[in-house]
Symmetry: C2
């Protein structure tokens, strides 16, 4: 199967193609392999060419984008032509679009431009869009080659994928067959090369064996290094067994650096641990400026564990809202062990939380000195006892902040593992 | 020119391809057009095939990924074979890698696996990596067809692109020639279809004219709707003129909904306005949980305007840290005009800021009621006067939070425009 994402905004780089990752992940979880992904602009000829090539290679193509109400809608007619089909107005869709519009904007007339969204290729099957206006399209020829077209708006695409397209694709996969499955072990606080040294060559076993032959990928990112094994072309049950074996083996060697599997989020891991231990959490952020709170509250249901916190960006707020001593700020500076510890203790006291966590650092690009360079971060955790740790993280401003937030969460996770 | 990003992690969707967007944007800003983007997995055959096809189409290809120290390194040999070249160890690179390792890990031996990073195709030119270990490669044949290979780690790729690859590409563009340029007008607080109605068809003019013929794209996102015009195949000076004309015309119609051009960030716009007016800003966040602070502090130099704030996720903190009255919380609920206004006033008082801004809402997926559904958000701005506004935003939890943060920034921008 291949994926084609359409849009000048993607090619020009103004939009990051999160749809592609989302679709790939959803299909991979179902055991379907995407073998190639292509992005082309909003030109009928380029779209046709890419779809035709992908159909020739795999006979199964998903597209996103080009279904909106405005002038860049070329996908449907271009793809209809490949299948030798014309376009026709679907009155049912047109009526639905108009009804939706009237419900939302009772005092304005339905724009004629929106009616083109109701046009579908002859003989196409409609993929219902419950989250927006543009319907999706499933087009198939007599040889069973198919193209599924979805809108580019992420929320609409995600809904349609889950409710319409994935069930349709799964229905086509006959019998057990062979699948593509993968497992990911997520680590943080250890460098890619240090893991490589720790594991050594052929870590999973003799490459002549099924387990040893699995490709092991190292995926470094701001959250840490992910280790991923992928099994291709085996029956589902055997693939699941192999992934599980590999995960157990990796976990036994990587040990405490591993915080979860697959799409585990360290913020969710920390919240779960606090929930199990009945602990309330609060944050005091300087250089991360709210990012730590943002990550924790990004997890649905975080409110039973996370109380909130203080963004003490300016030093006055460190004193007034967190009780950091003026003389320590003066003497040691805002990025210091003493200030980090006082921030963590202060937020715990202010909020009545069980665990206070603080981050203070120099995110750059300015503000670094010889003694306190950009990337220097102090993190403290104040719970049943108090700990502070110094980090020197690399990257640009955004990465330094992300790595600092991740390191702070990891310090809490470790503190609560030993407690 | 074409771009090929390599990695199983991209195809499987575990990594979002931010490199592709970054490279496309950087090239577009230089007037270079990427006509197609392809993603393939870590298989030598798939890599070769994609690079060969792209070379046939355009003769100029950039790749990212597959240059790391671990077992998924296949890019260099696969591409060398297309050019009929072998691989050889570059002793200079090997020495540099080893020196770097020893400086960082003085007590550990240089891993042999890292030496493969020092292998380059015969006749290749090295693109220096000042931000990591894996060097980039520029490979060119006698016909002038070329492939430039860069690492996949974003920080390393970005540095190499700016310092090595862009200058090399620009040096090849002989004379003025024709370019691809685009301009984006960023709007927020107005729906895509409402803009389409406002502009009507052929907004830029008669499609027979140069200006009227420019494609106008509507790009909806959580930050709002971007309007983008793109000029292709004209000399740089004329292209710049046309983009400017289109921007002026769009701005005159879209008016107050436009907050900036190109990659303008509303947080930076707000900070600039506060800076010009010598106003200090503080935030009180409930449902956004730190995201508003995160967005403001993401901008370098924000510390001269942004003081900090309180993440009052739990209602107790709204009372204790922001002075929200218990009886109003009880009577009107946390998501209400009264509480939003008290939060904004409270954070202003607590921090001594000139402008306090608050966000309280229901981000979902749980917690919604008939009267207060998921997506309901109250935002208040407390400065020389106080204003509160009710929003009903759509999307999943993450999108609701993002839209709420954007709406809060826009409320500040508008408040400071009239003040």
């Amino acid at each position: 199967m291949e994926l084609i994402t359409i849009g000048d905004e993607l090619l020009l780089g103004f939009t990051v193609d999160t749809n592609a990752a989302h679709i790939s992940r959803a299909l991979a979880a179902s055991g379907v392999e995407i073998v190639r992904r292509t992005t082309v602009g909003d030109e009928a000829e380029k779209i046709s060419q890419a779809v035709r090539e992908a159909l020739d290679r795999t006979g199964a193509v998903i597209t996103t984008g080009g279904l909106g109400p405005t002038s860049d809608d070329l996908t449907k007619p271009a793809i209809a032509r490949i299948f030798g089909r014309g376009m026709k107005l679907d009155e049912g869709i047109a009526a639905k679009l108009e009804g939706r519009w009237r419900a939302r904007f009772p005092n304005s007339t339905f724009p004629a431009t929106n009616r083109t969204q109701a046009e579908i290729p002859d003989g196409a099957r409609v993929l219902t869009n419950r989250h927006g206006t543009a319907p999706g399209i499933w087009l198939e020829d007599e040889k069973g080659r198919w193209v599924a077209m979805m809108p580019g708006v992420p929320r609409e695409m995600r809904g349609m994928l889950a409710e319409e397209l994935l069930p349709a694709i799964q229905a086509r996969l006959d019998g057990p067959g062979s699948v593509v499955l993968s497992g990911t072990l997520r680590t943080t606080g250890i460098a890619e090369s240090a893991i490589a040294e720790l594991l050594g060559p052929n870590f999973l076993g003799d490459p002549q064996t099924e387990l040893g032959a699995l490709p092991l990928a190292y995926l470094p990112g701001v959250a840490g290094v992910d280790l991923r094994v992928t099994v291709k072309g085996l029956p589902r049950a055997r693939a699941q067994e192999l992934v599980k074996e590999a995960m157990v083996k990796l976990r036994s060697r990587v040990g405490a650096y591993a915080y979860g599997e697959d799409d585990a989020d360290l913020a969710a891991v920390v919240l779960d641990r606090c929930r199990a231990l009945k602990l309330k959490l609060a944050v005091a952020e300087s250089c991360t400026g709210g990012m730590l709170g943002e990550r924790l509250t990004n997890i649905p249901g975080s409110s039973d564990v996370f109380l909130g916190g203080v963004i003490a960006y300016h030093n006055e707020l460190k004193k007034e809202l967190l009780g950091v001593r003026a003389e320590d700020l003066e003497r040691y500076g805002a990025v210091s062990e003493q200030v980090a510890l006082q921030m963590a203790a202060g937020i715990r006291e202010k909020t009545g939380g069980d665990v206070g966590i603080s981050v203070t650092g120099i995110a750059g690009p300015g503000g670094g000195t010889r003694d306190k360079p950009v990337g220097l971060v102090w993190i403290a955790v104040h719970g049943s006892d108090a700990k502070a740790r110094r980090f020197h993280v690399v990257g640009d401003r955004a990465e330094i902040r992300q790595r600092a937030a991740q390191a702070a969460l990891e310090m809490v996770r470790r503190a609560l593992s030993n407690g």
